[in-house]
């Protein structure tokens, strides 16, 4: 078990190294890195000095080590636009993105799991059929269009909820959070809901398929024959076995949700990393783009690692195979 965990961690470090190589090559393959890293209004002497200071006159492999060193020191250059350190800029906005992504995943679970259980246990009921139909729509309709429709309905026509910004925030542990104030929650609801529709459909389908399959299993029939209550069978025996694949998917999808938040944040003017990166792309603020890529890659690899470890802990079959 310990050996498997260490192997998995080493593998993650390998993936991160490969990512840094790809980003590094990307920086060098597309355009001259001098143009990429030095503001275009610098004159010849400044450029020469910067080339030397950045080590761009050194051989490529040495430059890559400087780049790695920069990453390890948290130094990824300064934004061309604001002049602030790029990494700091990203880290300052990361909590807003995480708040949005985690809220979306929690919403998806809170609504997707009970509906999925219902549809799996009573597949013939009208509500189940309706949910199945809606989940096809949830899969098909692009998230950005759902977001726009929500703004038209709830913000413009009904005027119930705001459509941009984070609202009031509270400072906890040195970070601003929206979900702790009523106004913040009102601002969070539409973005989180629109971001969660796809995950919700996914969770719903997984739970439904799992519930249908498991209800036919021997041990469920045995539990029923033993005279266990329906409630206990569903809540303990069915649910527990469904949750393993659900947790994997949710873990993997958390990364996808953070990535897709780019779209949601842009639409709802949510001040997270996603809206920052879209602005940075439109003005080609490359240090910020690189910093974003590195931070996101780290985040993904960490999430994937934790998901795998959770799987290892939850599923005895895999645990035994690893041991």
């Amino acid at each position: 078990m310990t050996q498997a965990v260490i192997l998995r961690i080493l593998q993650s470090i390998g993936v991160i190294l490969v990512m840094t190589v790809i980003v590094f090559i990307g920086l060098h393959a597309i355009g001259n890195p001098v143009d990429v890293l030095i503001p275009s209004d610098a004159d010849q002497i400044e450029r020469a000095r910067a080339v030397e200071a950045l080590g761009l006159d050194k051989p490529l492999w040495q430059q890559y080590f400087y780049f790695l060193q920069g990453i390890l020191h948290g130094d990824l250059g300064r934004s061309f636009v604001s002049g602030e350190p790029a990494l700091e800029l990203i880290m300052k906005r990361l909590p807003a993105t995480l708040e949005l992504a985690i809220s979306a995943v929690v919403l998806a679970l809170l609504i997707g799991v009970p509906l999925g259980l219902m549809a799996g246990i009573y597949p013939k009921s009208l509500a189940s059929r309706l949910s199945v139909g809606l989940s096809v729509l949830g899969f098909s309709v692009p998230a950005f269009w759902i977001a726009i429709m929500m703004i038209i309905v709830f913000a413009v026509n009904l005027g119930w909820l705001p459509s941009s910004g984070r609202g009031d925030t509270v400072r906890v542990l040195g970070v601003e959070w929206s979900f702790l104030t009523l106004d913040g929650l009102r601002h969070l609801l539409l973005p989180a809901l629109s971001l969660s529709i796809y995950k919700m459909s996914l969770v719903f389908r997984l739970v439904r398929a799992g519930a249908i399959e498991i209800s036919r299993a021997e041990y469920i029939r045995f539990a029923r024959a033993k005279g266990l209550g329906r409630r206990r069978i569903v809540m303990v025996h069915v649910l527990k076995n469904i949750l393993i694949p659900v947790i994997t998917i949710v873990g993997l999808e958390l990364g996808g949700t953070i990535a897709f938040a780019v779209v949601t944040e842009t639409i709802f003017a949510w001040p997270g990393t996603g809206s920052l990166i879209i602005k940075s792309i439109s003005v080609l603020d490359r240090p910020v783009i690189v910093a974003y890529l590195i931070v996101i890659a780290l985040l993904f690899v960490t999430i994937n690692l934790l998901t795998d470890l959770a799987y290892l802990i939850l599923d005895p079959r895999i645990r035994e195979k690893m041991a």
């Binding site: 993936v15 490969v18 990307g26 597309i30 096809v136 729509l137 899969f139 098909s140 309709v141 692009p142 998230a143 950005f144 269009w145 726009i148 429709m149 703004i151 038209i152 913000a155 413009v156 459509s163 990364g255 996808g256 990535a259 897709f260 780019v262 779209v263 842009t266 639409i267 990166i277 879209i278 792309i281 439109s282 080609l284 783009i289 890529l293 996101i296 890659a297 993904f300 690899v301 994937n304």
Partner: protein, 301 residues
């Protein structure tokens, strides 16, 4: 994977058989009918659209942001779905936009499918370090979400239909490679392929004539799903301003152009292109859902 998994025969004979197969499920029938209609409208766009949205001379400043059903300023045309911020007829915009969305969707899915399938089958056939290298690459590719990779590629490549297709091919090939490899591995364990190998047929012939056709069913399902995904992804990228150029407006572009007006209640510029997009994607997904069941006998119970 047991050796008994029968490969479902793909029906390719009489039109009547095709029709029966399509009308077998109402969802499949509806999806196919809608998709045919959408493709037909896109092909016939220059003939049936009331206005040429690329012809700037036909636009009038007096006709901007007219609600659905309005008459033009000079009374010559009526705008069934209204006009946008530049006085373009929304209906015409949608018909032309569909062309770009469909070309990007089908084009990228087919190219990625061809590349991914060959790569996956080659990996399965040769095994060893070729397979290990290809599959690690696939794992790496699939561990990062498509939207993010496509966004970054386009940030470096720049806008344009060709670049969007290229970016989508890069994010999509890996899925096909994985599916093709696992299908090919199952086939490679069967006797007919051993027979082909020992009869010293050329490798190219074994791969293309014997292996490939028998790996197709799961790949066809994936292709359908990927077409829907690509159309939706292209719309998202264009909405974010990194997709197609303003001179080649796809549906996502039209939706984006209307987004700045929605707070003032001018909903139709965004709503109608969006409906066209959703209808297209849902139709393709309905077909994909049916194919998944129809081509997999295990799900047919």
């Amino acid at each position: 994977m047991s050796d008994q998994t029968p490969v479902p025969p793909i029906v390719v004979s009489r039109p009547a058989v095709w029709l029966a197969w399509i009308t077998e499920s109402p969802a499949m029938a509806a999806g196919s009918a809608i998709l045919m209609l959408v493709i037909g409208m896109a092909i016939l766009a220059p003939l049936i659209s009331p206005q040429d949205p690329y012809d700037l001379l036909s636009l009038s400043l007096f006709d901007t942001k007219l609600p659905p059903g309005s008459q033009s300023y000079d009374g010559s045309t009526s705008y069934l779905l209204g006009t946008d911020g530049q006085g373009r007829d929304i209906l015409s915009g949608i018909l032309y936009g569909l062309r770009i969305s469909l070309i990007v969707g089908f084009g990228s899915a087919l190219i990625a499918g061809a590349i991914g399938t060959i790569v996956g089958i080659v990996a399965a056939y040769f095994g060893g370090w070729v397979e290990a290298l290809i599959m690690r690459l696939v794992d790496l590719q699939l561990s990062f979400p498509a939207i993010l990779v496509a966004l970054m590629l386009l940030a470096f490549l720049g806008k344009g239909v060709g670049n969007v297709v290229l970016a989508l091919v890069i994010v999509e090939w890996a899925g096909y490679a994985r599916t093709a490899r696992s299908a090919a591995l199952v086939e490679l364990g069967k006797d007919y392929l051993t027979a082909a190998k020992v009869s010293l047929l050329p490798v190219r012939r074994i791969i293309f004539v014997h292996l490939l056709p028998n790996c197709l069913p799961p790949l066809i399902v994936l292709l359908t799903i990927q077409v829907a995904r690509a159309i939706s992804l292209e719309a998202t990228l264009s909405f974010l301003g990194v997709g197609v150029k303003a001179t080649e407006p796809s549906l996502g572009m039209l939706i984006a152009s209307g987004f700045s007006y929605i707070l003032s209640g001018t909903y139709w510029i965004t709503l109608f292109p969006g409906i066209a997009l959703v209808v297209t994607v849902v139709a393709v997904n309905l077909i994909g859902d049916h194919l998944r069941v129809a081509l997999n006998p295990k799900l047919r119970a």
